[in-house]
Every structure is written in C-alpha cells, then in structure tokens.
Amino acid sequence: MADTPNDVANPDRRNFLVLSTMTMAGIGAAAGGVGLIRTMTPTRDVAGGGVIEVSLEGISEGSGIIATAGRKKYSIRRRTAEEIAAAVADDASPMRDPQPDADRVKRPEWLVLRLQCPHLGCPPQGTAAGEKRGEYGGYFCPCHNSQFDTSGRIRKGPSPANLPVPKYFFASDDMIVIGKEA
C-alpha cells in the first residue's frame, strides 16, 4: 500500500486527529445515550399520577378502609382510644424499627399506611374490623407471618421495617389527600 498508519510523515498530527475525533464521537454517543435513556424515565402522565382524595365519612371507630391509587393500596384506619393508648404505651418497648407513634400519625385517631409489607411486598390484613390483626392487634401479613402493632410498627416476624407512612394531608375533617403533602 502507498502508506500504512504506521509510517506516516507526522505521527503527532495523526494521533491528534484520531484522538480528537474519538473524543467528539464519544461526546456525541454519550449525549445521544443520555437522550435515549431519558425516554425510559417515567412518562409525564405516569409521573404526575398517584394522588387520590379519600372521604373519611362513614368509617366507624375500630374499623378502616382500603384506598387504591393505581397499583398502590393504602390502609386508612380509625383507631379506638385503647388502640391509640396501646401504641403510645409501646413507644418505649424494644423494636426492630423504633419510631414513636406520634411521628407516624397526623391526627391520633387516623392511621394512614401504605399497605405493603416491607418484607416482600404482600398486602397485610387488619384494615377492616373483622380481619385478622395478629398478636399486637394491628396488622398481620399472611405471606410470612409478620405482626404489626396498632401503629403499623413491626413487632414480630421477618419484615425489616414498619409499614410505611405515605405522604398525605387532611383537606378537611372528613377528607384526606394521599400522594402528596399539603
């Protein structure tokens, strides 16, 4: 061949050209890659969703309802005075994920939880009055026997953490909004 890459007159110039071209190509590929990955992020319709309003009317003391937002389930439970007292009394007990009851509710009467066991994601029972509520009278996960107290804290079983408290606020005395803070 007339000449090969190894016997050029000015190798520095060649190296500069190759390196600068590869740099530009790299920047271009990275920029394009970022754009492509961005198309995989939650779309505008999904990202804005998940906020629901739930009416609290008709929920009697000691019972609760399950509210659904998309695929997410929330437990809204109206606690009795005894349940509140038990939860507050247990604040000092040894727990896997210690958290005072006052930090887990906005109004002591209402307990609002994301109904998903932190162990492997099953929906725990105990929201409605008749359901099995476990040894601590709160929630019971049927998948692997996690027992939660009347504040939704893990007391016994495999769950590594308490039932999570979602973002919510009281729009009025008998209406809450779940999915965002006020």
């Binding site: 061949m1 890459p5 995989m40």
Partner: protein, 467 residues
C-alpha cells in the same frame, strides 16, 4: 485475512484476542485490507447506510418500549396503537425527537441506499466478481421496503390502514394460493388486531435479519474488494490505501454532512416527507387518494398502471395480476443485472452511451415516483415550487391525452427496457473510451511512460482479464 498472530500489545486485548480472534479480524480489515485509493464521495453511502441501520434499530428499540399494538378503541374512538404513538410524542421525555429520528430516519436510510445503488449502477460495481455482493444488496433493499411498510402500518392512522389493506390485497393476485396467503398475513378476513400484532412482531424481527444480511454484504465486499470510479482492477500496492485512517476519515466527513441535513429535517421539517392524513387515527375507511411513502412510489406506480387484462389464447391474466407481476419483476430484474450487462467495461466514465442510458434511468425513477403519487386517470404534471407544469390535457370528448397512467406505462417500459434491452445491447455495440492502465496511471508518472501505456491498452476489450 486474519494473521496468525495477535497485533495487540495490551495484555488484556491480547489475551482476549488470542482466545477469540475477532479483534484482530477487525484490526486487519481496517488496516491491512487494500482499498482503491481513488474512491470518491459517492462511496460514502455504504457506511452511511450501515450507520442509518444502527440508528433505526436503536431508536426502534426505545420506541418499542412505549408502543402498544392494539386496535382497541378508547371512549374517544381512538385506537390504542395510535394513542400510544401520541403518548410517545406527548408524554415520553424526548419522545417526539425519538419518533421523528425514527420516521425521518427511514427516509434518510432510503436516500443513502438509493445513492449507494445508483453509484453501483453508474460505476458498474455489480459486475464480476461482485455479482453476489450486488445480489445481497438487492435482498437488503427488498427487506428494507418490507420493514418500512410494516413500520408505517404500526401507526394505525388513516394511511397506515390503507397501506395494510392495499398491499396485503396484492397477494390475492397469486393464482390458487392467493386467498390463503392473505388469510395468513391478516390472521382473518379483515385488516384488524391480528394483522397489527403480527406486523409489530415482524417489524421488530426483520431489521435483525437485515443486519445479518448486511454483515454478509460486508464480508463479501472484503473478499472481492471495492470497485472504484475508474472501474479498473487494482494492479499494484501503489493503487491502494488502507481503510483506516483514509476512508474512516473520509466517511466521517461525509457522514457529518449527511447527518447535518438529516437532523435539520428531524428538527425543523419532520412531517415534510410524510402524509399529513396519517396523523389521524383510522376509521377503517379508505381515503380517496392512497399514496405510499415516497421511497415506494416508483414501485407503486408500476403496480397501478396496469388497467387492462391480457388474453393469451384464452388464458386471461388480469390487470391486477399484471401489476403484481410487474412490481415483483421490477425488483426481480435487479437480481439478473450482473448477467444482463454484457459490457466488460465497468465505469460509465468510459461508456458514453451507457451514461446517457443511466441518466435516462434516473429520470425514469423520478417520473415513476411522480406517477405513483398522482391520480391515474388525470392529466400528468410535474410539480415545481412555482406551480404545476402540465404534461397532458383533457380532450373535447373527455379522453385524457398524457394521463398519469399513460406516462406511467411509457416510463415503465423504459425501466424494464433499460435492464432487458439496453444493458445487453449496449455492451455489444458501444464503443468505449480508452481505459487507463491502472488506478495510479492518470495521476502518477509511470516508469514506462504514461502515453505508451495508454496506447497499449487502447484495444476493444481492455477489461478482459487485465489481472
């Protein structure tokens, strides 16, 4: 090609390459393969086409993450497939850009491949020993057309439905088996959910098959070597350079220019090459004027110009069958091209008559595209930015002289005549110009004296076994 020794010094690269020698295969093909040193910018379109295939596969993959092949309609009467395309345009971050890169990319992929093929025709790149290279290229073209049609249907707009309806109907022209083939394509009697789902599956699969054929195309190229603008074979090392860095950089420059134009269209005129009516979801009624995307227009023209039946001693071939045969034939004849062309001279630079015939063929493709876009029975016209130039008129008695259909038949005859008549005949009678003795001879002073060499090769068949 691949030497027995790894060319790498980096222990990681060397260790890998000694166990799986694909790195040295790439290295040797880039640096040791001899490419003619006189390739001009028309030779850029091969690598541009390859890059466009990559762009289409990558953007298509990300589009498929959001697309839903379903005809089910929401409460507004808009089908899921169309809705998901709208969703991509409106809700997916960067989705509008992503979709337009893909849809405009289809057009620019065809532009690159069309330039690539016309270059091949002009410089005789399909002739021995490159017959297989050309045939693989023809397979690539047909696969591209199929993939483009399938992808266009997925939008499930007004023209998507029309395309799916009309093109699947073409298969009913096949005697005996036609109706069964139609059933297999549609998965039912009508163009419906089943068709959309299988079109999506095929639109996802076929590009990878296309990529496989492209790899065979490139391997064949590396075996038989590149043609060049002079069309004479490589005689010595003086005639060649390595691919890298000479053609990598030349290709990168050409690619940059091409992408500047391509991305400008994506950014500022993404709907310029599309039919606006396809931005409406289909209501399963055929529009009065059905046109395919621009790159399929010449073949669509050949399909639709047959409006009469042919009766051969009682055997009737319907106009529909003639159209389907002609459209298939217009692609099939490309496969025979290496054997239809009888001239031993490759490059049109040395073939004055063939060069005229070639430009006539380019004009034919343009005219046929216009025929494909216009209504058959009406007077044909050339659209220009300043208005229409009519090439026909309606007579007193209502007969149209110079209708779209008549012009279509005329230029379809040139299309086939170019391959079946001009190619064999020109090779036998054309007086070609004197070929240079080698690629270097026109530019480098030969030790033997350039004039003497030129005189020595000025014989009737200069290409006959020059090597």
């Amino acid at each position: 090609m691949a030497g027995s020794r790894s060319p790498f010094t980096n222990p990681l690269l060397k260790g890998f390459d000694e166990r799986l020698p694909i790195l040295r295969a790439v290295h040797y093909s880039m640096t040791q393969h001899a490419y003619p040193k006189n390739l001009n910018y028309w030779w850029n379109f091969g690598s541009i086409s390859g890059i466009m295939l990559l762009v289409m596969i990558v953007t298509g993959l990300f589009l498929a993450m959001h697309y839903k092949p379903s005809v089910q309609e929401d409460t507004y009467g808009i089908n899921q497939a169309f809705r998901s395309v709208e969703h991509i345009m409106r809700d997916v971050k960067g989705g509008m850009f992503l979709r337009y890169i893909h849809s405009v990319g289809a057009s620019f992929f065809f532009i690159a491949v069309i330039f690539h093929m016309f270059r091949s025709l002009y410089y005789g790149s399909y002739k021995a020993p490159r017959e297989l290279l050309w045939i693989l290229g023809c397979i690539i073209l047909i696969l591209m057309m199929a993939i483009a049609f399938l992808g266009y249907s997925l939008v499930w707009g007004v023209m998507s439905f029309a395309a799916a309806e009309v093109i699947t109907q073409v298969f009913t022209a096949i005697p005996v088996l036609g109706d069964d083939i139609l059933m297999l394509l549609r998965g039912g009697e009508d163009v419906d959910d089943a068709l959309l789902n299988r079109f999506f599956a095929l639109h996802f699969l076929l590009p990878f098959i296309l990529a496989g054929v492209v790899i065979l195309h490139i391997l064949t190229l590396q075996t038989v070597g590149s043609n060049n603008p002079l069309g004479v074979d490589i005689k010595s090392k003086k005639d060649t350079v390595s691919f890298h860095p000479y053609y990598t950089f030349k290709d990168i420059f050409g690619l940059s220019v091409f992408f500047t134009i391509y991305l400008a269209v994506v950014a500022w005129a993404p709907e310029r090459l599309a039919e606006a009516i396809n931005n409406q979801p289909t209501d399963y009624n055929l529009p009065s004027h059905i046109v395919p995307e621009w790159y399929l227009l010449p073949f669509y023209a050949i399909l639709k110009v047959f409006t009469w039946d042919l009766n051969i001693f009682g055997l009737v071939i319907t106009g529909k069958q003639l159209g389907a045969l002609a459209m298939g034939g217009s692609l099939g004849v490309l496969f025979l091209l290496p054997w239809l062309d009888t001239s031993p001279v490759r490059s049109a630079r040395f073939r004055p008559l063939y060069r005229l015939a070639f430009w006539g063929f380019v004009l034919t493709c343009v005219i046929l595209a216009l025929v494909g876009a216009q209504t058959s029975g009406e007077a044909f016209f050339i659209p220009t930015p300043f208005g229409r130039i009519p090439l026909g008129f309606e007579a007193e008695n209502g007969f149209v002289w110079g209708s779209t259909q008549q012009w279509g038949v005329l230029f379809m005859l040139y299309y086939f005549g170019f391959f079946i008549v001009l190619m064999p005949v020109l090779g036998l009678f054309e007086r070609t110009r004197t070929l240079p003795a080698s690629i270097s001879e026109p530019v480098l002073p030969s030790s033997q004296g350039a004039g003497a060499v030129a005189a020595a090769v000025a014989v009737a068949k200069p290409m006959a076994k020059a090597d």
